[in-house]
């Protein structure tokens, strides 16, 4: 079908592998979002704290530079589980704001103008569509959370030696798993709200409210029923308890398994919401 011929011709060339088709979606979304200077600046800002932490690790192991000016950094900063927990606590907030910036428009744009039938009339399933949109957030949020976390862990291991790496392997596991719990929760929440709320600012506001409003809900439930199970309504707290459980530190009252269950229930709810909305056409029986 050459431009000058102006007649229809079938395509007989090679096709991309089916498993890789979902990756088309993040590529197109990134083309758009990286045009925003604000977003780019925010992304750079989100990597400053890991850089500072990297500098601290460097200085911790090159203390002679500072000792020359009589500063004992080893006494100020200990590179341990708390150090990495502090890093990840900062990074998950950056991750949340990135999801808040991108997430609400991911699905709503396609739904607003009936774009879904065009996606789904191709050899492209609903699961691949969700996976494609999920990977938009998952890739970016990984760059902010567990990727710098593990890079710093590797840097510390490089300086401190294999014995430190093996005795603190739990930190690496916690950085990876804990980050993925957060990425999954935030990404699925953003997608589900984007599918149900077409107006982006409202979807963003709801994301904020689900995370912060959970705290108020927790206080109300605990106060009314004189229990501590209301803590489970606070997603931030649930993820924090999971984090503490992974890293092996004692958490507050709520058991770790209950926090896992609460997060799993929330993830299932998001998947259910997506399953209801991500359809070529809605059928009203």
């Amino acid at each position: 079908m050459a431009v000058y011929e102006r007649s229809y011709k079938r395509y007989a060339g090679d096709l991309s592998p089916q498993w890789s088709r979902f990756s088309v979606l993040p590529r197109y979304v990134y083309q758009d979002i990286f045009r925003s200077k604000f977003f780019l600046a925010f992304l750079i800002l989100s990597l400053i704290y890991p850089l500072v932490c990297g500098a601290v690790i460097y200085l911790r192991h090159n203390a002679e530079v500072l000792e020359a000016i009589d500063v004992r950094i080893a006494e100020i900063f200990a590179i341990d589980a708390s150090f990495f927990s502090q890093l990840m606590f900062v990074q998950i907030w950056f991750a949340f704001f990135v999801a808040l910036f991108i997430g609400p428009g991911l699905v709503s744009k396609d739904l607003a103008n009936n774009g879904l039938p065009l996606y789904l009339s191709r050899p492209f399933s609903r699961a691949e569509y969700v996976m494609g949109k999920f990977s938009v957030l998952a890739i970016l949020l990984s760059l902010i959370t567990w990727v710098p976390g593990l890079v710093l862990y590797a840097l510390q291991s490089g300086y401190a030696g294999l014995s430190w790496a093996t005795s603190n392997a739990r930190i690496a596991l916690t950085i990876f798993l804990g980050s993925w719990v957060w990425i999954t929760v935030v990404s699925l929440m953003a997608l589900a709200l984007s599918a149900w709320v077409k107006w982006r600012p409202v979807a963003g506001f709801l994301m904020f409210m689900i995370l912060l409003g959970g705290g108020f809900f927790q206080v109300i439930v605990n106060g009314l029923f004189r229990t501590e199970w209301g803590d489970l309504a606070n997603l931030m707290r649930d993820v924090w308890i999971i984090w503490l459980g992974l890293i092996g530190e004692p958490g507050p009252g709520t058991p770790v398994w209950a926090a896992w269950l609460a997060v799993l229930a929330f993830v299932c709810l998001c998947i259910y919401m997506l399953n209801r909305k991500i359809r070529a056409y809605e059928v009203v029986s």
Binding site: M1, A2, V3, R6, S7, Y8, K9, R10, Y11, A12, G13, D14, L15, S16, Q18, R21, V24, Y28, D32, K109, D110, A112, N113, N114, G115, P117, L118, Y119, L120, S121, R122, P123, F124, S125, R279, A280, Y281, V283, V284, S285
Partner: protein, 313 residues
């Protein structure tokens, strides 16, 4: 010719509503018109073949690929132009259609090349870098056609492609559909409630009524075998005259208040109809040779009782 679409007792239900009722048949035309009044199930049939709705019973195959078990393989052969506005806001036509091509499996460079070709082909070459939401209705229809063509499908579903178009835009769309059909590289299923569109573009026609298939024929063959009949407009005692005409061995049907349709056997002549009229003092005001138009076929099909469809009347 191998069937393009095969349906075996295909039914679709939405709650209590049976949207498609046990449709069976093998359809192999180069251009198949899908006709029916609003709510007849035309769009539901297309959506079911695309895998959007799960059949309650029965099976469907597209080029031999089962629409449930080999859904992706079947959809890779299909291009779909939906009835309603469908696009992704904020994208230029080039970006949108390239995205659609890549989702169909084309590598990025080939997708871009074919996107430009498809947009030039449908006549949007000069407007291809404009955002889709700025397009007029006619341009959006053409963009939808381009995205349906870009990956080079073997079967094209066009759902009401001329909806809302002004006459020149409609002409352009019909010309494109005929051009695509005439390349011989793709089969077209054209769903429309506009008989003229189907008559101009299609060689076969399926008529749906209340979710059932009530007619499937090759239009060309039908036209060839369609007997000529006479349409008479008379004044006088019509019933007595009709009785007399039947007495001559002619098939006869009352068309409306005044018109009568008459099929003359070879041994009878028109002169005998005039003679009978003269004897009965009936005036023949108008006499003309006619053939069943698609409208007649459609109206006849609408009179058919709805039962299990079998692909032909």
């Amino acid at each position: 010719m191998d069937p393009v679409i095969e349906l075996e007792d295909l039914s679709v239900r939405f709650g209590r509503l049976e949207a498609l009722k046990s449709i069976s048949g093998a359809f192999s035309g180069r251009a198949i018109g899908l006709l029916g009044p609003n709510g007849a199930g035309k769009t539901t049939l297309i959506h079911t073949l695309l895998g959007f709705y799960k059949p309650a019973t029965g099976k469907g195959r597209i080029f031999g690929k089962d629409i449930r078990e080999q859904d992706k393989a079947a959809r890779s052969l299909i291009g779909y132009m939906p009835e309603r506005d469908s696009f992704v806001a904020g994208m230029t036509a080039v970006k949108f259609i390239r995205l659609m091509a890549e989702l169909s499996g084309l590598p990025p460079s080939e997708a871009l090349e074919r996107t430009h070709e498809a947009l030039y082909y449908v006549g949007l070459g000069e407007a291809r870098y404009r955002k889709l939401e700025t397009y007029s209705l006619g341009m959006k229809q053409l963009a939808k056609l381009a995205q349906a063509l870009v990956h080079g499908p073997k079967l094209l579903f066009l759902d009401e492609p001329t909806n809302g178009l002004d006459p020149p835009a409609r002409e352009r769309m019909i010309h494109l559909i005929k051009d695509i059909r005439d390349t011989g590289e793709v089969h077209v299923v054209l769903s429309s409630h506009l008989l003229r569109d189907v008559e101009e573009c299609c060689e076969e026609v399926m008529i749906l009524k209340e979710g059932a298939l009530v007619y499937y024929k090759n239009l060309e063959e039908e036209r060839r075998t369609n007997r000529k009949f006479l349409e008479l407009e008379i004044r006088g005692d019509r019933e007595r005259y009709v009785e007399g005409v039947r007495g001559l061995g002619c098939e006869c049907a009352l068309h409306d208040k005044r018109a009568i349709k008459v099929v003359l056997p070879p041994e009878r002549t028109i002169r005998e109809l005039y003679r009978l009229a003269s004897e009965q003092q009936v005036q023949i005001r108008h006499l003309d040779y006619k053939k069943d138009s698609l409208q007649d076929i459609f109206l006849k099909a609408m009179e058919q009782p709805v039962g299990g469809g079998n692909g032909s009347l």
